[in-house]
Each structure stands twice: as structure tokens, then as C-alpha cells.
């Protein structure tokens, strides 16, 4: 039992940190531009595919640096030449723009790399088990993923809170006009933030690619959960996104490890139910509904605490 708890915690934290890498960019972009970037998960996918391609040519470590830079550059270009123009037509246009962009990116990825998964492997230098607890091996690569996520989180926090750039970004989040009047180029800050946000998603893509599956529908699999993270954490709140990411990572991982069901909790109250359609609901285990748990959380949060866990304003 203890073994299960420890391993599940590790797995949950790992998944949570991956989510955070992506959600951090998304939430900062939202608070600045006021637009939910539907294409955000697509940059995660781009990161994974760039990472795959570059690691073929130059190896994994260069890929870890170059792929996010490339994706970030594309992100910045999207903001500069796409979103900024669309912005004139209002929020709905922006939303539709990113929505369309997500499909376009998926299609392009399919054209270049095909529809089936690509063979993106863990680099040999990290392909061993880091340690063994309770006779379960924990892969070194997963520890590496965790480490990278934590490092980036720390770097992000320091940059935002302790540096001049961070101060300006924070100011631009809430008072863009004032920042503009003070002589800062708000447009460039927006572009920078969009670029960095998408680059972070790409980092997540590069490190998740070998561990999970690199394929053209990976954005679709993770995209919806990102929005759950951002809404549950509170739109625009970085600490909120952090808490929500970990929460969702842990909830999903632990739900899988649980076997409880309604019939287990209350016993088969009435044997008559066994033959009816109710039997299905009665016997569903928590593990089976694990994938929908984040969305249940999303609905509940929107009803009872619309500003999110750590958010400051209503959505």
C-alpha cells in the first residue's frame, strides 16, 4: 500500500509538473492578451516533433535547447503577425484565430511527419533506472523530467518576481496603458511573453515526447486538460496554475490506483439493480472514471468558485 502511495505520488507530481510547464505559458498569455490560446497545446506538440527531428540530426541535448527556441520563435511570429492584427476585430476573432491555428498546426504536422507515432526515444545517457523503491524501478528519465520542470518553474518565478523584466511584465499584466505611457514597448512585451509561453510548452513537448507518445493527436489529448488547469487555478494566476497542475496530476494518478465503486461503498443494496441499466453506474470504479475527474473538477469550480483557487477576478 505504501509502495503504491509513494509511486503514485511521484507519478502524479511528474504529470502535474508537465502540465504546469504548459499551463504557465497559457495562463500568462491569457492575463496579458485576454485571449485563451486554443493553439497552446499545439506548441507542445510542435516541441515534441521538433525535438524528435533535431535529436535525429544533432542528438537529444541540442534538441532540448533548439526545439523550444524554434517553437518560441514561431509563437512570437504568430503573436506579431497574426494575433496582433486579429486583435483589432475583438476577442471572438482572436479566439477563433487560435482555434483555427490549432487545426492548421495539427494538419501541417501530419503532412510532415505522418499520422502514426514517430520513434522518439529516451537518450541512452538517461536510459537506466535511477533508484529502486519497494522493488519498483524508477526510470532516470522521469527523474530528469521532474528536475527540468522544477528548474524551469524556479527560473520563471525568479524572473517574474526578482528581475526588471519580470516587474514590467507584471505591470503590463494589469496596467498595460500605464506601462506604455512610461515608455515601454508593450507590444514587444506581449510578443516576448507569447514567445516564452509557447517555448515553455515546447520544452514540455521535448521532454514528454520520448516518455509518452509523439504523434499528431497529442495536442488533442492534452489540450482540454490545460484549460482545466488554467480555470481551476484561476485565470491569469501563476501560483494558481502551479497548485492546480499538481492537484490534477495527483487526482488523476491516484484515481487510477483506487478500486472503489458505489457498490463497493454501499454494498449491493438491492440485488434487483444488478440486472438493470443502473448496474453499470453502480459498478463503475473510481479508476474507470479517472480520465473525467479533471472535467468534473472544472465544472464544480466554475459553479462554486468561478475565479478559481487562487484567482483574483471572475472569469
Amino acid at each position: 500500500m505504501l509502495e503504491l502511495i509513494v509511486i503514485s505520488t511521484l507519478n502524479g507530481v511528474l504529470f502535474g509538473m508537465l502540465l504546469f510547464l504548459m499551463a504557465s505559458g497559457l495562463t500568462v498569455i491569457f492575463s496579458m492578451l485576454g485571449v485563451l490560446n486554443f493553439a497552446h497545446a499545439s506548441f507542445y506538440m510542435l516541441g515534441a516533433f521538433f525535438g524528435f527531428q533535431i535529436s535525429r540530426w544533432f542528438g537529444f541535448w541540442p534538441a532540448l535547447v533548439i526545439a523550444p527556441l524554434l517553437a518560441g520563435a514561431i509563437g512570437a511570429a504568430v503573436e506579431r503577425y497574426g494575433l496582433r492584427r486579429v486583435h483589432k476585430n475583438g476577442h471572438v476573432a482572436e479566439l477563433l484565430f487560435t482555434f483555427g491555428l490549432a487545426f492548421a498546426i495539427e494538419e501541417v504536422v501530419q503532412i510532415i511527419w505522418g499520422k502514426s507515432p514517430v520513434d522518439f526515444r529516451v537518450p541512452p545517457s538517461l536510459d537506466f533506472s535511477a533508484f529502486t523503491i519497494f522493488s519498483t524501478n524508477y526510470p532516470a528519465y522521469k527523474m530528469f523530467m521532474l528536475l527540468v520542470s522544477i528548474l524551469i518553474f524556479a527560473a520563471l518565478l525568479v524572473t517574474l518576481k526578482k528581475t526588471r523584466i519580470g516587474l514590467i511584465v507584471q505591470a503590463a499584466l494589469t496596467h498595460p496603458h500605464m506601462v506604455g505611457h512610461l515608455g515601454h514597448n508593450v507590444g514587444r512585451i506581449f510578443m516576448l511573453v507569447f514567445g516564452v509561453g509557447t517555448a515553455l510548452a515546447a520544452v514540455a513537448g521535448v521532454i514528454a515526447g520520448p516518455a509518452l507518445v509523439t504523434q499528431a493527436n497529442m495536442a488533442g489529448l492534452l489540450g482540454p486538460i490545460l484549460f482545466v488547469v488554467v480555470v481551476v487555478g484561476g485565470l491569469g494566476s501563476l501560483p494558481g496554475a502551479f497548485v492546480a497542475s499538481l492537484l490534477i496530476g495527483l487526482v488523476q494518478t491516484f484515481a487510477v490506483s483506487m478500486n472503489g465503486s458505489l457498490s463497493g461503498a454501499f454494498g449491493p443494496l438491492s440485488p434487483d439493480y444488478a440486472a438493470t441499466w443502473l448496474a453499470d453506474i453502480w459498478n463503475v470504479t473510481i479508476a474507470q472514471i479517472a480520465p473525467i475527474m479533471p472535467y468534473v473538477l472544472l465544472v464544480l469550480i466554475l459553479i462554486f468558485r468561478p475565479m478559481g483557487l487562487l484567482g483574483t477576478r471572475d472569469t
Binding site: 501530419q110 499520422k115 502514426s116
Partner: protein, 411 residues
């Protein structure tokens, strides 16, 4: 002018297909070519194309060229119906599909209804891999033919072998959460319960179909349950990733599977270092002592970089040719009637027959394990150096299970 162009745009492709349809027999291959099922869907497609070439080299179907037309259904029943309609609109009269019993269920219904409403334009549905028993029992249809042994037949064979493996004490079931996965777990529970009441089922897991990219949480759970044996019907990515996660965690158990040989499966087994600890039940393996199938395997491997995962597809295509010859027609109804009750020398050796009552094909079933090879096993899998070793062969007669099918035949 614009009207004329539009009329031409609509009319030209129609003339085109009509003209081609006379020289070729098209078979619509409706399976996943994107998403989680794509890795096996593509291999199925290439296998069928290879088989079509084999038929064409021998003169095709009654002199007509066979062509496989791919349709991507994304492993989605809804999408499959759209693709099936698209295929029919192109004049295709033969559909084949295999991945996903949920898809197969929808397709059977669709084809039955379509044929009822469109007499004279009937289409046939050849199922090469969807093994939910329902398809040849409650939901059976005259228009549906299945070449793979259904899930109950496979489980019967598997549990007959497990009965003799006395080391098995604690069994964990992990399956995909849809009709096929459900039928595997139900059959496993009832058959193991009857044959080995001393075995304890320590876990019974269902997970979403082709959506999980990291099975680590599930592996942690299997490990915590103390299981020594896992039974799974997982296929495609769901099997490869399950084994990959178990390799990462260092889980050492015996695996009893339906589809360990699918794309990525053998690689993951080798990575987990489970030498002859992963068993598979199926209608054939490359390393059977049977010359024609070994020759075929060599030819396939020379052309593609994968091994034959679908011996049943070979039976299907060759029987289609035999049925067309027998009926002297490629009219779907006549082909269907010719197929019913047909005796056939199956690809991997031995006799098989297409039961008239429910259109289930019966054939010898093999249990094999993956691991290091001896001189008797010439073929390895996915360049791992490991290959399938024959463990047990179950003759056709012993695989026959009763059916509840009450088939409605065309009048």
C-alpha cells in the same frame, strides 16, 4: 460557363469511377490511419495491399484486378459509418475492418440496414480482427463474416493452457474499456473460475481505449496487488505502452495476451526482458513448421519491415477469391452464399471452415511465447532477435463453441 464547369466537376468523377469499376474490384479498408490506432492500422493496410498484389499476380478475382482503398475511421464508430457511406458512394461493394469491436458493431448494423434498403446493391462486410463474441451471436448478420477467432474461443484456449500452469496463483486483468475489453474480462473470470477455482483474481482494471500515453500508474497498481500473472486483451499502442511502462518499473510477471505481437509489442517485451514470459493466443505465428506460410513470411518481410500479424487476413482474401471462383461471380450475395460453410486449407496449415449458422470462421489456434530462439524458430520479431515459440496447438474441432445466432437470410 460556371454552371457548365460545376456540372463537369460533378459528372466527371462519376464517369471516372464507373469506368474503373468495371476492371477492378475495390475493397474498402476502413480502419484507423491516424490517432492511437494508426500504428497497427497502417500495417493492416499494407498487409491487405500485399495480399491484393498476390491475388492480382494470379489473375485477380475472375480476371478483375483487386484494389484496396483505404478509409481512415480514427477508431471511431461514428466516423466509420461516414467512411463506409463514402466507400459505398464510390461504388465499393466489399468492406473490411478489424480494429475495434465497437466499430465492428456499428458497421454490422449499418451494412444490414443499408442492404435492407438497397436491394440489388448489397455490400458485404469482412471482419478480420474484431473479436467481440456478440458479432456472431446476438448481433449476427448475414452480411458479416469473421475470420478471426472470437474472444471466447481465444479465452477458452488460453485458459485451457493456464489450467496446466500450476505456478499461477494471483491473476490481474487489465483491459480496454469497450465491448471487446469487457468480453475478455467476463470470459476470463468465468472460465478461470470454472477451470482453476484456486486462482485469485487480484485486480480487474478497465482503462480508456487508445487514450493512455503513460501506463505507469496502472503498473504501480498491478505491482501493489501482488499479481504473478496478467491477462490482457490490449492491442496496438495500448499493449506496447503497457509493456513499456512495466519494463520501466521492472515489473516481473507472466503475461497472457491476445495481441502481444502487434506493432511495438515485441520491442517492449524484449525491453522488459520477459524471456518466454509473454504468451499470445492466435491463429498463427511465423515460426510454424509449415513451408507455404514461411515462404509467404519471407516475401512479406523482404518487401516491408514488419512481420505478418494477420494470418487471418490471408485466409480472408484467399477465401474471397475461392468464393468468387465457386460462385463464378463477384456479386456480393453470390459471394456470401459461396462463403457459407466453405472448407478451406488455412494459411498456417490445417483445415478451417466458415460456419453457416453465424459466419464465424473456425481454424486451428496456437498458443506461443516470445523469447530466445532455437533452430526451430527461424524468424524473429521487430529485429529484437526474439521470436515466437509454439507452446500448444488446438485443433479446429476443439475450438468450436455454440452460437445463439438466429440469422436472417435474404429471400
Amino acid at each position: 460557363m460556371r454552371k457548365l464547369m460545376m456540372a463537369a466537376a460533378i459528372a466527371l468523377p462519376m464517369f471516372g469511377t464507373a469506368a474503373i469499376a468495371q476492371e477492378t474490384v475495390k475493397i474498402a479498408y476502413i480502419d484507423p490511419l491516424s490517432g492511437g490506432g494508426a500504428s497497427i492500422g497502417e500495417i493492416g493496410l499494407k498487409t491487405f495491399q500485399f495480399l491484393a498484389e498476390e491475388l492480382n499476380a494470379k489473375g485477380g478475382l475472375l480476371g478483375k484486378k483487386v484494389e484496396i482503398v483505404p478509409f481512415d475511421n480514427k477508431t471511431n464508430p461514428q466516423e466509420s459509418l461516414i467512411q463506409a457511406q463514402k466507400a459505398i458512394d464510390q461504388g465499393i461493394r466489399f468492406l473490411t475492418q478489424g480494429n475495434g469491436s465497437s466499430v465492428a458493431g456499428a458497421l454490422t448494423d449499418f451494412v444490414s440496414k443499408y442492404n435492407e434498403r438497397n436491394p440489388g446493391k448489397e455490400v458485404l462486410y469482412f471482419n478480420y480482427a474484431a473479436v467481440d463474441p456478440v458479432l456472431t451471436n446476438e448481433k449476427c448478420s448475414f452480411w458479416h463474416f469473421r475470420w478471426d477467432a472470437n474472444s471466447d474461443i481465444k479465452m477458452e484456449a488460453l485458459t485451457n493452457y493456464m489450467k496446466t500452469a500450476t505456478a499461477i496463483k494471483n491473476v490481474y486483468l487489465i483491459n480496454q474499456d469497450y465491448s471487446f475489453g469487457h468480453s475478455v474480462r467476463t470470459a476470463a473470470k468465468s472460465m478461470l473460475g470454472a477451470k482453476r477455482p484456486d486462482i485469485k483474481i487480484v485486480g480487474d482494471e478497465l482503462h480508456p481505449l487508445l487514450k493512455i500515453t503513460d501506463f505507469a500508474p496502472y503498473i504501480a497498481k498491478i505491482k501493489a496487488s501482488g499479481a504473478d500473472t496478467v491477462v490482457t486483451g490490449n492491442w496496438g499502442q495500448d499493449f506496447a505502452l503497457l509493456l513499456k511502462a512495466s519494463a520501466d518499473a521492472g515489473l516481473k510477471v507472466n503475461w497472457y495476451t491476445y495481441y502481444a505481437g502487434g506493432t511495438g509489442g515485441p520491442t517492449a517485451v524484449k525491453q522488459a526482458n520477459l524471456n518466454h514470459q509473454v504468451f499470445q493466443v492466435g491463429e498463427g505465428i511465423a515460426n510454424l513448421d509449415n513451408k507455404p506460410s514461411q515462404e509467404f513470411e519471407k516475401a512479406l518481410r523482404a518487401k516491408y519491415d514488419f512481420s505478418l500479424f494477420y494470418p487471418r487476413a490471408v485466409n480472408q482474401m484467399r477465401m474471397l477469391a475461392a468464393a468468387a471462383d465457386k460462385a463464378k461471380s463477384i456479386d456480393p450475395i453470390k459471394v456470401a452464399l459461396a462463403l457459407e460453410g466453405m472448407e478451406f486449407d488455412v494459411f498456417n496449415g490445417g483445415k478451417g471452415n466458415m460456419r453457416k449458422d453465424d459466419h464465424q470462421f473456425f481454424q486451428p489456434i496456437y498458443i506461443s511465447s516470445l523469447g530466445e530462439r532455437t533452430a526451430k524458430e527461424p524468424f524473429d520479431e521487430e529485429k529484437t532477435g526474439w521470436g515466437w515459440k509454439l507452446i500448444a496447438r488446438i485443433d479446429t474441432a476443439q475450438t468450436v463453441l455454440p452460437t445463439t445466432c438466429k440469422m436472417e437470410r435474404p429471400k
